[in-house]
């Protein structure tokens, strides 16, 4: 699914400085714990999170995550936007809570978790 389709499916708006339309999303991960993201994500995913701090962007950079959507109406600060833009990461934001954003994305066809099997 293209990032444009994702944006529409989860009623999101993009953070303009970070936008690029060549990102493909095949799987997603909803999490507020960045250590869990690093422990379980194995594919390139869309990260959905309600966490707002610079470590969200840094985690995405280190994990090769190309797109993040902030849920529950939260907005990234300028430091986060700058780091995302410099590293080619698309930022989105939606007023939906995490559960509904994940649900709508799943219904739209992103059905893979992109995470390793849990032991």
């Amino acid at each position: 699914m293209t990032i444009s389709d994702v944006r529409a499916a989860i009623e999101a708006e993009d953070i303009k400085e970070t936008w690029r339309d060549d990102v493909e999303i095949n799987s997603a991960c909803g999490a507020d714990l960045m250590s869990d993201v690093m422990a379980f994500v194995k594919d390139q995913v869309l990260l959905l999170t309600g966490l707002i701090n610079i470590q969200v962007i840094r985690t995405a950079v280190l994990m090769d995550i190309e797109a993040i959507c902030f849920v529950r109406g939260k907005s990234p600060n300028q430091e986060m936007i700058d780091m995302a833009r410099d590293n080619g990461i698309v930022l989105l934001k939606t007023r939906l809570p995490l559960f509904l954003a994940c649900g709508k994305l799943y219904k739209a066809g992103v059905c893979q978790g992109g995470v390793r099997a849990i032991d």
Partner: protein
């Protein structure tokens, strides 16, 4: 080839700078993608631990003979019980750190999962040195 980074311990927002710089250096060296990712995640987790628990420290990275060796040393309080610290979900991180998305008790096992060898030298009041090795396959 050697790299050295000082990890400041007074600013959580800068935690991870050294790992990000290391990742860029490995990319410039043409190291395989999957090896870079494992190295970056292991080093990032160790760097976060160093900032949260030990007031920062030093990171030395040596790339030689098909192996990346990362040594992270601090002069913090040390790890009282390494066996407990290795268990998923066990954490002594303060609430503030948890609110920032860390301290879930996954850090040490994340390091182990992403490295081929991991050695911890620590003790109460002695600081901590974590040595991590990630081998670069010959056919990579």
């Amino acid at each position: 080839m050697r790299f050295h980074y000082t990890v400041p311990g007074d600013d959580f927002s800068r935690a991870g700078n050294a790992s990000s710089e290391m990742k860029k250096a490995l990319q410039r060296l043409g190291i395989p993608h999957e090896i870079i990712k494992r190295t970056a995640v292991a080093m990032y987790e160790a760097e976060i631990n160093m900032v949260v628990h030990a007031g920062g420290g030093e990171a030395d990275i040596d790339i030689d003979h098909g192996c990346i060796t990362i040594v992270m040393s601090d002069k913090g309080p040390g790890i009282a019980n390494v066996e407990l610290a290795m268990q998923d979900g066990y954490s002594t991180a303060p609430q503030l750190v948890r609110e920032l998305g860390f301290g879930a008790g996954m850090g040490m096992s994340n390091i182990k999962r992403n490295t081929d060898e991991m050695n911890i030298e620590t003790g109460e009041g002695r600081g901590t040195t974590i040595t991590m090795k990630i081998r670069i396959p010959e056919d990579a």
